[in-house]
């Protein structure tokens, strides 16, 4: 059995925005960071990472330019735009509200079962 669970719908964008918010970063690094941060608990489908990046870029939440990496190769670095930062804040807030609510409900039902 695979111990890792799938990423809930719509959270990939939020995670990407959060990772990019830390500083300009290229696609592969984002994938790495996501896997590290989620400590191998959450399966990030790498195949949907790039379409998500392109979508976010298309919506103006990210901007991108080509820069050299420390190894001397050219890579596409993503940055958060002002719009993206605002989006990140609202999404993060609503995510917290959601998880709090879910946690609350789960506690209630445990209490009821006792």
């Amino acid at each position: 059995m695979n111990p890792k669970s799938d990423l809930p719908q719509g959270t990939l964008d939020l995670l990407i925005l959060k990772v990019v918010a830390l500083g300009p970063v290229h696609g592969y690094a984002i994938a790495q960071r996501l896997e590290q941060v989620s400590q191998h608990v959450v399966q990030v489908p790498q195949g949907s990472l790039y379409p998500a990046l392109h979508r976010l870029e298309n919506r103006g939440l990210l901007s991108a330019d080509w820069k050299e990496t420390e190894t001397g190769r050219e890579a596409k670095f993503y940055r958060l735009t002002a719009k993206g930062r605002a989006q990140l804040e609202t999404e993060a807030a609503s995510w917290e509200r959601l998880t709090d609510a879910v946690a609350l409900i789960l506690k209630l039902s445990e209490g009821g079962a006792e």
Binding site: G27, Y28, Q46, A52, H54, E74, A75
Partner: protein
């Protein structure tokens, strides 16, 4: 980046996408290698982790947001490629659509220009026309509407705050410059008529208010046509003088070409108030004054009407004798196109049927193609194409086809409008305003897109609507039952539509033949009819008029080739008539109760010229003159109506005084003696005379028209000439002889509106002939299109049945059996189509009966000619595929697929 920038940099973006993914894979692989994995294994794992690069790329492209446009371009390229692969299919479809939309566009262009477009004046929707309105019906021709009395017009103009009024009245006469004389139509216009309609002279100026006054400076404005004819377009014409109606005028302005009032072009304009005839001063006289007005800014028609009613009310109180129960009515000014309206709608209806056939045709071709492409489409679905994607691709293909067909159609239409207008009988109102404009282009695009949608939809909806596997596994030989049924429906509806058009054309042809074979009541061969204007100087002098007409007759008789000649005021089958009441006792009832007859004033030779049969009694002679007993000759219709079976000769009729041509006294009625009975003449033309409201006719001698009325009668006079040679060949010598240069008149007598009687008779059927011509063309088009459709469908269906036919032949079927197999299929469709079409024809026939004068009801003969024609053509179209089927080589057929 905008979406279009992204689109333009598509290639660069593709490269960047590729580079980005490669960077990711390399990076991942390098890390794995660094941790001790072999390079090949590292690369494998990296790729596995990322997923299929092509799928990732595809999703990234989707995320870009320009996907629909890229797909559109792809579909367009694909559509063009597939069309190029099947040039025959493309050519037939394009041609079909081009003919359909082309014909429809021509008709719509004309309908739009003539019926829908506003008049060619600025802000034409603010223009109204005014009439006097009585409470009861007082005029038998116009109902309760009257032209204005001039004093009433002046009062309305002064009082109205919501309207700017202008007035005009017809005034034709002879124009002469440098001994050139020409009879022209003119208008007496109030000084502000031009500013009210919003068109000013393109050279010179309009009238000044002080010129629109009795005794004002005699100034004249001429049309651009007359300027070309008389002054050869010389700008020096402004300020030069010309004589109109025998009076000298100074030219002050030239109207732009194409300037019209009420759909007519006029050559001269003079100030209205310079007309000092007594009828202009009286409130109870109505000398044909038309009133146009422009609504003041912000005023509605209803407000203007309220104000006019108020003015009418005041005037009725002030002048009860003339204005009691009389008010004023404002109506929007429209082009007067009533008599062509039904013709145009009929033609638009017929042409829509053609378009419908064209659409069905292309739809069936598309469907046939879609069915044969079923495997291709199934393959595409298997490779991951979505249902919506396939529908879009099919729609793109048909849109490409229909739009290019539409473009071709517009091209055809642009070239077809000229000939269409040239063939229009008589003159089409507003013909010079007919041209393609953006509305028409929009219409053509709408029509072709709509048809694209119509026939694109069927195959597109079919395409993904099946299980893939059986489609992929079977060969192309299977034809789904639903497709065969759909094809039959297409063929059947095409045939039905073609039947409707064909039979309608047949009915029109039958009607035209029948109408042309009717007796007009006169011998129309070798007769010349022309209006004739005496010299204005003669007309001004009442005592000279009779002698002048006698002189005209004498001179005309002397022209070589002329047999006999008469003067006549109203001519059969030409515009204009004179309806006069009659009664069989002195006790004449009120105006709306007396029966009417067509009255014609003639000189004694008229009967000889027209060769109208004399049935009883005598015609006029030189003894019927002023002072002798008033006499009339009636036609057999009037004899029957007035006297029944009694002997009419010697009886008397009473003519109500207000209408009588025998006296200027309007209070008492005039008794006249019937001295002869002649045959009925189809005065209203061959088509409508039988249904005409007023058919009874009588003739009265011009010599007995009293002196007081002589000038009015003379202004409307024509001459009728019977010739022994071709009538048109005497026109020139006659014109020369009658100018009056050698006689007492000043060389300014003129013939105008010259026709032969044959032309008039033929013109009276022009509308029917024109309808027949166009219905014939449309029907032929429909027939050809239907045949193409039948051929296409059968060729396709039999093509699909080749393996089956092969088996049949292998089992011993003869070529004849096979041919019959195919023909039977088409015969079934033809039969049902003809049956449905015949039913629909009954409806179409009723429409024609209602809108076409003299239309004959559907008869068996028409069906007996048109239906076999259609069946034969359809059979011929199915014969070719049938023959090909019968030549199938069973061995090859069985091996196929």
């Amino acid at each position: 980046m905008n979406w279009w920038q992204r689109l333009l940099r598509r290639k660069k973006m593709e490269e960047q996408l590729e580079k980005e993914l490669r960077f990711h894979l390399d990076q991942h692989a390098n890390e794995l290698i660094a941790s001790g994995v072999s390079p090949a294994e590292a690369r494998r794992r990296a790729r596995l982790r990322l997923g299929g690069p092509e799928q990732v790329k595809e999703e990234c492209r989707d995320a870009r947001g320009t996907r629909w446009l890229e797909d559109l371009f792809q579909d367009l390229r694909y559509a063009l490629r597939t069309l190029r692969q099947r040039p025959g299919f493309a050519a037939v479809s394009l041609l079909t659509l081009a003919l359909g939309t082309g014909a429809t566009t021509v008709m719509f262009t004309v309908v739009n220009s003539v019926l829908l477009k506003p008049l060619p004046y600025p802000e034409a929707d603010r223009l109204v026309t005014l009439n006097e309105q009585t409470e009861k019906v007082t005029s038998r021709i116009w109902g309760n509407l009257w032209a204005f009395a001039y004093p009433n017009y002046l009062d309305c103009k002064r009082e109205s705050r919501s309207l700017t009024l202008a007035a005009w009245r017809y005034n034709g006469s002879t124009v002469s410059v440098n001994r050139q004389a020409e009879y022209v139509d003119g208008i007496e216009a109030s000084y502000d008529l031009f500013s009210v309609v919003g068109v000013s002279p393109f050279r010179g100026r309009s009238f000044l208010p002080e010129e629109d006054r009795a005794g004002g400076e005699p100034v004249i404005i001429i049309s651009s046509g007359l300027w070309q004819r008389l002054f050869a377009g010389n700008p020096g014409a402004i300020g030069s003088s010309l004589a109109f109606g025998g009076k000298p005028y100074t030219v002050v302005g030239i109207m732009p070409a194409g300037f019209r009032i009420n759909e007519d072009e006029y050559d001269v304009f003079t100030p209205l108030a310079q007309n000092t005839s007594p009828s202009m001063q009286k409130r109870d006289m109505h000398p044909g004054i038309q009133v146009f007005a422009r609504l003041q800014p912000g005023v509605t028609l209803a407000q203007a009407q309220t104000e006019l009613s108020l003015i009418g009310h005041h005037l009725a109180e002030q002048f009860p004798e003339s204005n009691k129960d009389r008010s004023f009515l404002a109506q929007p000014l429209h082009a007067d196109v009533r008599d062509v309206e039904s013709t145009l709608w009929l033609l638009l209806g017929a042409v829509s049927l053609v378009l419908l056939i064209a659409c069905v045709n292309v739809a069936s071709l598309m469907l046939a193609r879609a069915v044969s492409r079923e495997r291709e489409l199934a393959m595409r679905v298997a490779l991951g194409a979505s249902r919506g994607r396939l529908v879009r691709q099919c729609l793109t293909e048909s849109a490409v086809l229909s739009l290019s067909g539409g473009a071709l159609g517009v091209l055809l239409a642009a070239n077809g409008i000229g000939p269409f207008l040239k063939f229009w009988p008589g003159s089409l109102p507003r013909a010079d305003e007919v041209h393609l404009d953006w509305r028409v282009l929009l219409f053509a695009i709408a029509v072709s897109l709509l048809s694209g949608l119509l026939f694109g939809l069927a195959p597109a909806l079919r395409a993904p609507d099946r299980e893939l596997e059986p489609t992929l596994r079977t060969g192309a030989r299977m034809v789904g039952g639903s497709s065969r049924r759909l094809h039959s429906v297409f063929v059947i509806s095409e045939i039905a539509l073609a039947v409707v058009l064909l039979v309608s054309a047949g009915m029109l042809g039958h009607t035209l033949l029948w109408l042309s074979s009717r007796n007009p009541g006169v011998n129309i061969h070798n007769v010349l009819i022309s209006r004739m204007a005496l010299s204005p100087a003669t007309l001004a002098n009442r005592g000279e008029i009779r002698a002048a007409w006698q002189d005209v007759l004498d001179r005309a008789r002397g022209v070589p080739g002329v047999d006999s000649v008469a003067t006549v005021d109203t001519v059969p089958m030409r515009d204009g008539n004179n309806r006069i009441g009659y009664w069989t006792s002195a006790d004449v009832p009120p105006a709306d109760k007396t029966p009417l007859a067509l009255a014609t004033s003639v000189t004694p030779d008229y009967l000889k010229v027209m060769e109208i049969p004399l049935l009883k009694g005598r015609f006029f002679d030189d003894h019927d003159r002023q002072g002798s007993e008033l006499v009339v000759v009636i036609d057999d219709v009037l004899a029957q109506l007035a006297f029944g079976k009694e002997e009419p000769i010697g009886k008397r009729l009473w003519i109500p005084g207000r209408e009588s041509p025998f006296s200027a006294n309007s209070d008492s009625s005039d008794p006249v003696r019937v001295v002869g009975v002649v045959g009925h003449v189809r005065y209203w033309g061959l088509a409508i005379d039988d249904q005409a409201e007023v058919r009874a006719q009588f003739y009265y001698p011009f010599a007995q028209v009293p002196d007081l009325l002589l000038r009015r009668w003379s202004e409307l006079m024509s001459i009728a000439v019977r010739t022994s040679i071709a009538p048109l060949s005497v026109v020139q010598p006659l014109r020369q002889e009658l100018r009056g240069a050698t006689g007492g008149a000043g060389g300014d007598q003129a013939l105008y509106e010259v026709h032969t009687m044959e032309q008039l008779a033929s013109d009276s059927l022009a509308r029917q002939r024109f309808l027949l011509l166009l219905f014939g063309i449309f029907a032929a088009l429909a027939l050809v299109l239907a045949c193409i459709g039948i051929y296409g469908v059968l060729a396709y269906l039999t093509g699909q049945r080749v393996p089956e036919i092969g088996i049949r032949m292998a089992l011993g079927a003869k070529p004849n059996n096979v041919m019959w197999l195919v023909l039977r299929q088409s015969l079934g469709m033809i039969f049902i189509g003809v049956a449905l079409g015949t039913a629909a024809t009954l409806g179409a026939g009723r429409v024609l009966l209602k809108f076409v004068d003299g239309m004959q009801p559907t008869d068996l003969g028409t069906f007996a000619i048109t239906i076999p024609l259609l069946v034969l053509a359809a059979l011929f179209a199915s014969f070719l595929p049938a023959r090909r089927a019968s030549h199938v080589d069973p061995v090859i057929a069985l091996r196929q697929d």
